[in-house]
Symmetry: C2
Subunit: 187 residues, 2 copies
Amino acid sequence: MKVTVGISNRHVHLKEEDLKVLFGEDYELEVVRPINQPGQFASNSFVTIKTEKSELEHVRVLGPVRPYTQVEISMTDAYKLGVRPPIRDSGDLEGSLPVTLIGPKGELHLKEGLILADRHIHMTQKQKEMYGFKDVDFVSVAIPGEKGGIINNVRLKVTEKAYYELHLDTDDANAHMLHDGDIVEII
Amino acid sequence: MKVTVGISNRHVHLKEEDLKVLFGEDYELEVVRPINQPGQFASNSFVTIKTEKSELEHVRVLGPVRPYTQVEISMTDAYKLGVRPPIRDSGDLEGSLPVTLIGPKGELHLKEGLILADRHIHMTQKQKEMYGFKDVDFVSVAIPGEKGGIINNVRLKVTEKAYYELHLDTDDANAHMLHDGDIVEII
């Protein structure tokens, strides 16, 4: 079974009230580029992620607004920021790390929300069954090439609407010389 | 068979004449910290790596001087610099990328020398035979943990003097959440 790779650079999801604090009362996220997951999009809104040690500027906000505010970075980013976030599924934020967000209109000091996103493959329940993963929650994926190998602990993430795609962070992508749209094999 | 992990951050090796251009006529590299490979050391000398697109400051020079000048970066660095260097063994620089080095006393425009270092395990010929790798040139290594998996195409690098150790760049390390001194298994 094959799957297409989608690479997630560091990014931020915002809940409505946090969007207002950072960008102003009537601000709305604008669709610059739809991403493959249905309804999701890259906006042209950016924030600075700040920790005690350092900061990362110009981090893109993905839309639409969500019920929670979440900051997804790579381990390489985490070293720069001097933090060790847990590896988590989107929305699973209890006990994740505090972080400060700075927007053009305000600052937010979040008690939690900073994570490393886990390796996952988006799919619908129907796709999960159709592709032979009915009773499977995690798979491994074979990566070809000079910096190839096998990546483990790839979660099958089932949502009502989904575009079938493997999401990896930039560390996984760069370590394995992967690019958006590469096709790899689930084993 | 197990092996200890050593992580290589971006760094520079210099030949004698290039050291003089960058740091001055009578400059000598000072041992700040020996590294595990016999005779090799971290110096307290730093250069800037520059390309047409961007630059990386404060990149450490490793000593002692070598017969060639070589710049080793990660793919993450390469994206920042806007270049796509080949994956190479140390010293195998023909057709590698041009790069500019800036030191406190001068600049160097190298026609080649910029590479991504390959994944490799240092060993002596005696260790190679003793550990059961007599006719083997490449191995795979199993990485445990939440971001674990298997990394392929790890070259067995034989030198006269060697400290038995797996060298990975920061992309491989960060993707797999590895740290200096971690112990992993050759398969």
